[in-house]
Every structure is written in structure tokens, then in C-alpha cells.
Symmetry: C2
Subunit: 329 residues, 2 copies
């Protein structure tokens, strides 16, 4: 296994990315880690383990930089890291940098899988019944019926191969559970998914996301992005308020000390860092997108996820099942 | 103040709706309450206060009934309750029944305000900084740029008149805070809102909903519905888990007893029943939509909200500011 890491991308780059990669490298001494970064970021790193190698780049795509700038930045970390996959020198690439730049690099260098109009980004959502998978979470804001159906197909393959769900239950995330709910694109996709042979169980709504019962939740990238960030934001606000209230008096602080381990368990259960990264589905190679705010553990987990994607032959299977063709270069 | 209530609509109808109306009637003895229901639901109600009057209907629109059935059900509770507003016999109507039937009744009987393509449903969202207003939450799933701008204008008027915010801060709820985020319709609306003279502060994302800082949050009805239900669902799952964990051992149960009042405060703060109903904006009359699961208190609060909407001349102001005309019949 050879994993390329864009050391320069993300709010906590390069330090947290570097340390996350080092953690992963220590966990899997037999795997090779290719750290792509500038001399400024990497020159000082001494005594690297044998399975860590450096690849130097000259530029970085800014988090909010117009993606068109990528055309003139073939020496940027994300482009060069993705190029390692293209050249067959790495099996997967991981980045916490600009998602748009990562998508563009993957699409341009690796190419799209036949049968996929646009790549999608899926993310693991921890639910009461275990991890579920939601896509798209931001790669495509205006989606056609065909795209939604392709997302469903890609999510189904991911759930089966990477999450090990035998017959994933699929649903469309819309504004109600009844079949007539949803917008024009989702209603058309509903009809098509019913005929698809997939285990499509209908429409679901926002309140069902964390309850579980759905292995793959499908929607356009604007809706999915709002949903995932709303879950995160609601948890964060609620836990913050609980902390405030539970330290508001000596009596409560005493009680808080007694229940603290219960909260630790809950936090662990819904910890997004645990799931680390979101695979970019629909390109001819493994590219895992990390949250811009990723810390050490998120990067470590994302590298493990990238390895799982490669190991499970995700890309080959997507090419076969969506495009009806064997993957060729 | 004369308030019409559809006693037959909602999961807990007629009992909870009746009791909610009675609570409101006791709170405001000077206001008149018109309870619209079937003989079966109302005949047994004895010793009604003087300010409660009954209006009998013969049918009910089912929660999931095709809205076209309304055309043949002019004797249904929602149609007749809305008709009281139309005839000038009530100042507002409140229902927890089928939203589609309520919207159709309002649109057909009361008519749309000039300058409004489609009515929208707004809902109060409790945030860390106090109540905010989100629309649309389900009336319109496919929205044009013009509709989003109209939602913004209507929300702004609502925030000013009913919530008492002097200069409401408006934002578009999309998949990121940067100006280029959002789908085609929202990006076009962004440009128009910048020129609108409204206090438009840009794009916001899902994680910002509960934080506060935005008085009016604007999006299409599918996105808004998913967002609001995701907030509800996340809170409900998290509080359920907390309850489980905090009773998992005698030690934790003791701690839980000491912190319990803190949780009561948090629950109160985010209690959706407190905000009761969601006004239907853009029709020539006050029609407040309640959650299907509304209980006694939600109905009571929704009736008070309906009165505030009427008192503040919400409809007249919307007609003036959106249509540029005085409200006429």
C-alpha cells in the first residue's frame, strides 16, 4: 500500500497533517507514505521512519482560491499528490485542502468513470445503528435525476465494499417520507430507483439521519452539505450548552463529575474525527477528501480509509457496475 | 381578536387541539375562539366558556390525502376554518392538519399577495442568541431566484413586525459561507439581495443555524425542511442517548439527579412547542401552520402567534412592501 498525503492542505497544515501521517506510518510499517509538501514545510523534518518518503512541491492551492488557478499550479501539493496516483506511484491520495482543487485534480488527472456524469463526495455519518453513508455532501449543488441515481449506485457499492453492508438500504433525503415528497429531480430519481434492482426503501427526512435504518442516504450536494453541517452544529451547540449548565453551580459540578464518563462515551460515538475522510466517488483512483479543520487523528483515520478503499477494489467495482466496463487507464 | 381553529387536523386531533384552544381561550377571555369540527368531535363538549363558539363541518382532509380532494370537500374543517377568515368572521386560522390542504385553502380562498409567486412557510428556530426565522420549510421544493428573494423580503417583514428585530440580518442557507457557494438559484438570489437594500449579510451554512447571528435564514423548501428536521432529530437522538448513559449506573444516576435542572433549562430553551406554529406568508390573511404532532401547548402558542401576526398588521405590510399596493379584497 502506497499512500500520498497533501501535507499543505487544511487549516492545521502542515503540522497536524504531518503528525497524522506519521501516526499512520507507525501503525502500518509495511505501507509506504508519500508526504507531498514544500521545502519550507518538510526540510526540518528529521529522522523519518523508513516507510515515509518526501515529495517536494513548489506551491499550494489556497483554501478559497479560485479553482481555475490550478491550471497554472501544476507544482502544487494537491496536483502533485494526485499525479502520484495517476503515475501509479501511489495507490491513493488524501488531502484536507481546497475540496474544489482536489476534485479538479482528480477529475483532470485520473478521469471520470464511464457512466458517472460528475464525481460525488460521500461522508460517513455515525447513527444510532452504526455508520451510515451520505452523498453528495457538496461536490454538486444542482443535480439532475440521473446524477442522483448515479450517487445512489455509487453509494451502494461503497457501503457494500468498504462498509461491509451486504444489501445496503438506500433512501432519498428529502422533505418528507411520502413518495410524492422531494423536488423535481428527486421525484424522478425515486421512480427510477424503484426499477433499479437496488434495495431502495423510499424517501427519508432530516429527523431520520441519526436514527439509523438507512445505509446510504442520497441527495444533492447542497442539501447534503447543509444536513451534515446541521448535525455537526446542533451537536456542538447542545454539548456546549450542557457544559455551561453543568458547571453553573457547585451542586451541578459535582453531578457533572459523576456523569462525565457517560458524556465521553457519547462524544466518542458521534466523533466525526473517527471517520476522518470522505471518499471522492466516480474518478479512476482513490482520492479521500478531509475536512479543512482536520486534526492529527482525522488524517490518520483518513489514510486508513483510503487504504480500505484501495484494498476493496472500490474503483474497479464502480467502473464495472456503473460503466459496465473494466477499468482501463 | 377572533381566531378560527381547525379542531380536526393533526396527529393528536381533536382532543389536544381542543384543549389547546381552551387553554388559549382562558388566557385571553376578551378574544373569540371559533372551533371548527365535526359533530362527533364537538357535540360532547359541554360548558364552554363564553368566548368559545363552535362551527360544524362535515368532513376532514386526511393528513396524507391528495390535496385535489379539497375541491370536493368544501365542508372540511380546514376549508371552513379558512373561509371564516375570508368572510371576515375570523382574523386568523390555525391548523395542525395537512399542510398541503391548509396552503391550498389559503391560496384559493384568501388569494396571493401581489408580488409573491408562491406562499412560503417560515418557522421560528431557537438559537443561542434567541429566536431566528427560517423559510421556506417545505411549501416550495423547486425555487427560482425570484422566489428566494421574495422569501427573504417576507422573512424580513416578519422578523421586523412580529419578532421585533429592528434591522433583521438576512442570509442564504447554502453549502458554505463564501459568495460563490450555493446552487444556481441561490447564487442569482445572492446577487439580487446585495442590491436589495435589505440587510443581507451573505451565505451561511448548516453549522451556523443554532449559533445565531442571523435573524432570517432563506432557502428552498426542501433544504429548509431537511435542515429544521435535522436539528430536531439531532437534538432528540442526543438527548435520548444522554438519558440512557446517565442512568447506566447507580453512580451516574446520582450525578444525573444533581444536574437534572440544568437539562430542564436546555430543553426549555430549544423547545419547539414553545414556538407552536409557522406562519404561511404571502396569502391575504393570517394562516398559521402547526406541526402534525402538535400537542396542547403548541396549539395554545400557535393561537397566540396568529394573534400577533394579525395585531402587527403583517399581511397589510407584506402587501405594501412586496406588491407595492395596499391590501384589497
Amino acid at each position: 500500500m502506497r499512500l500520498a498525503v497533501d501535507i499543505m492542505g487544511g487549516d492545521n497544515a502542515p503540522e497536524a497533517i504531518f503528525r497524522g501521517a506519521m501516526e499512520a506510518a507507525r501503525q502500518h510499517p509495511a505501507w509506504e507514505y508519500l508526504l507531498v509538501g514544500t521545502h519550507a514545510a518538510l526540510d526540518e523534518r528529521k529522522e523519518l521512519p523508513e516507510n515515509v518518503n518526501l515529495v517536494f512541491c513548489n506551491s499550494v492551492m489556497g483554501m478559497d482560491e479560485d479553482v481555475r488557478a490550478l491550471m497554472k499550479k501544476r507544482d502544487s501539493s494537491i496536483w502533485m499528490a494526485t499525479e502520484l496516483v495517476k503515475k501509479g506511484e501511489a495507490d491513493a491520495v488524501v488531502s484536507a485542502g481546497s475540496t474544489a482543487a482536489q476534485m479538479a485534480s482528480a477529475t483532470l488527472l485520473l478521469g471520470r468513470i464511464a457512466g458517472v456524469d460528475r464525481p460525488a463526495i460521500g461522508t460517513v455519518v455515525p447513527t444510532l445503528e452504526g455508520p451510515s453513508f451520505l452523498l453528495d455532501v457538496g461536490a454538486n449543488v444542482d443535480c439532475s435525476e440521473q446524477q442522483l441515481v448515479q450517487f445512489a449506485r455509487m453509494g451502494e457499492v461503497y457501503s457494500r465494499l468498504v462498509q461491509g453492508v451486504e444489501r445496503p438500504r438506500l433512501a432519498l433525503l428529502v422533505n418528507g417520507t411520502e413518495p410524492h415528497k422531494g423536488n423535481n429531480a428527486s421525484r424522478a430519481a425515486y421512480a427510477e430507483l424503484q426499477e433499479s434492482g437496488l434495495n431502495f426503501i423510499g424517501n427519508m427526512e432530516g429527523r431520520d439521519i441519526l436514527k439509523g435504518g438507512y445505509d446510504v442516504m442520497v441527495c444533492d450536494g447542497m442539501n447534503g452539505n447543509v444536513a451534515v453541517k446541521t448535525v455537526e452544529g446542533t451537536m456542538s451547540v447542545l454539548l456546549k450548552l450542557i457544559k455551561q449548565e453543568l458547571t453553573a453551580s457547585p451542586k451541578r459540578a459535582l453531578g457533572a463529575a459523576l456523569v462525565k464518563d457517560g458524556f465521553v462515551k457519547i462524544k466518542e460515538r458521534f466523533d466525526y474525527e473517527e471517520y476522518g475522510g470522505a471518499p471522492l466517488l466516480g474518478v479512476k483512483g482513490v482520492s479521500v477528501v478531509c475536512h479543512g479543520s482536520s486534526g492529527v487523528r482525522a488524517i490518520h483515520q483518513a489514510l486508513n480509509l483510503a487504504a480500505s478503499c484501495f484494498d476493496s477494489q472500490l474503483v474497479e467495482t464502480l467502473a464495472r457496475e456503473l460503466g459496465g466496463t473494466e477499468l482501463k487507464d
